[in-house]
Symmetry: C2
Subunit: 296 residues, 2 copies
């Protein structure tokens, strides 16, 4: 058993609290507000199998007893908590769970000895402050941004068929392959308000995805080899009934993570003199929808 | 007074029947079905000021007494009635009111001496088989595809502040400038389910339109000079509360005219070695939505 602090009580924070506590780890969830912590402490995380989950707001949290800190806030909330993350003792391993790539620029300024990034393919939907619904099993893939992977031993041991974990050696490839998948699925499902499976089944969405895939192939010629068009279709079909996180965000009137997904890809495209017409169009589409829905 | 036959009892057919009858012309509306004609003959066109409108189904119509025939069916219904149009005596002027450009290929095979094409900027919504609501006043612009413009004299005299008419000399320019406007407004409003004004007001839609305008500028370098980006924004603002015909079609679960709008532009782009990435994406988007809505 190790002590794991999880910053962020969104769907992924709650799902990981629940799953890691099932492995016997002691979990402390760190919330933004006192009220969220109180609710979590009163109810626990619904469906939890162990009673080791506690919660507290960020401002009162001491991290020195943590064996690892998972950072599970949305990409666009990361900046606000970077000062608090900087204050975590430098020997404690940090594990980031953000989508996209834009958190990388924050990581370089941290002095921590062990920093890991990871990608999450679980489908999870937060039902209220303390309940999360696990909609789809997917891989949690981790890679070292800095430091030694032995620090992850206890966490990697939590591997289970409903919570499969994999360790990867190349963090940039890991994040970019996930980025490609997200870029292929999230904006389209959010713009057209369709579940993942529709992208694979509707012949015109299929053709649109081929065009987008061609654009991404020019931007990420190496990584695209680890993520064939067929892989993307398979992923859509395997998660046919899922709503992408971006579609959920749009439906709930929340801000989406579009800029942290597209921003990095557009920057890389520019470096390579590729004109990412569709990526720019998709980014603007989502930002336009956010304004219309008041979630800007 | 002249005898005008109008083929098609959709929103534009009914609007033109109403307006042209107000000018004193005798109108015969030609419908697809016997039932539509009966309803029109029973009720007249609602709000009509004259009683000269009669209706009959296409199969029973004799055109030899017509002074002009307006063809007001949707672009994609045109092919089905081309045999009937071919049978209209060759001396009777034909006036086409279709959006897009794909009707041009049908026109070349006709033997008629006087063929006119035209663009319609009125906002009109059909309420039932015999009622039409006039939502926005706009220009009806005509140009000769073949023959002499004197044949239009009586019709051009119907010009009124609520029904402004203009004669243009270059039919290809006329249609292409309208095509550019339609391509800029219709697919985006239909995909994002927004009224015209939103395209001008929302800064991200605005940026998306700039990208699309750049693409269209490469496809139609001459015509774009007659249709500045500011003109498009003005048009969106002038018709801010209007729903584009494509949005109305999507909402009503009807097939849209997307292919007759984009198909021509994509063909011209290919001839000029321009890759119309956004046009293709917009076309596929609308076709995908049509499948999801069952209006394919």
């Amino acid at each position: 058993m190790i002590n794991i602090h999880i910053i962020g009580a969104g769907s992924i924070g709650l799902l990981f609290a629940h799953r890691l506590s099932k492995c016997g780890h002691s979990i402390q969830i760190i919330t933004r507000s006192e009220k969220q912590s109180e609710e979590l402490n009163r109810h626990g995380v619904v469906n939890q199998s162990a009673q080791k989950i506690t919660a507290g707001p960020l401002e009162h949290t001491q991290f020195h007893q943590a064996d690892a800190v998972l950072i599970a806030v949305k990409q666009y909330h990361l900046e606000a908590i970077m000062p608090a993350i900087s204050d975590i003792p430098a020997s404690i391993p940090l594990i980031f769970l953000q989508n996209g790539m834009s958190h990388l620029e924050h990581l370089s300024s941290l002095t921590h000895e062990h920093i890991f990034v990871s990608t999450v393919e679980h489908g999870a939907k937060k039902l209220n402050a303390y309940s999360v619904q696990h909609n789809g099993v997917g891989w949690w893939r981790l890679a070292a941004y800095r430091g030694e992977d032995e620090k992850l031993q206890s966490i990697l041991a939590c591997h289970h068929k409903d919570f499969p974990i994999e360790y990867e050696s190349d963090y940039l490839k890991l994040l970019r392959v996930k980025l490609i998948k997200n870029l292929m699925i999230n904006p389209l499902t959010a713009i057209f308000q369709v579940k993942n499976g529709v992208l694979a089944d509707n012949p015109y969405f299929n053709k649109m995805m081929i065009s987008l895939y061609e654009e991404l192939s020019a931007v990420f010629p190496e990584e695209i080899g680890y993520c064939s068009f067929q892989d993307i279709l398979d992923l859509c079909r395997r998660t046919a009934e899922n709503e992408s996180s971006m579609l959920s965000d749009i439906k709930a009137g929340r801000k989406t993570e579009v800029e942290s997904l597209t921003g990095y890809a557009i920057k890389i495209a520019e470096e390579k003199n590729v004109m990412p017409v569709l990526l720019i169009f998709l980014e603007k589409s989502i930002l336009a929808i956010q304004i219309e829905r008041g979630s800007d």
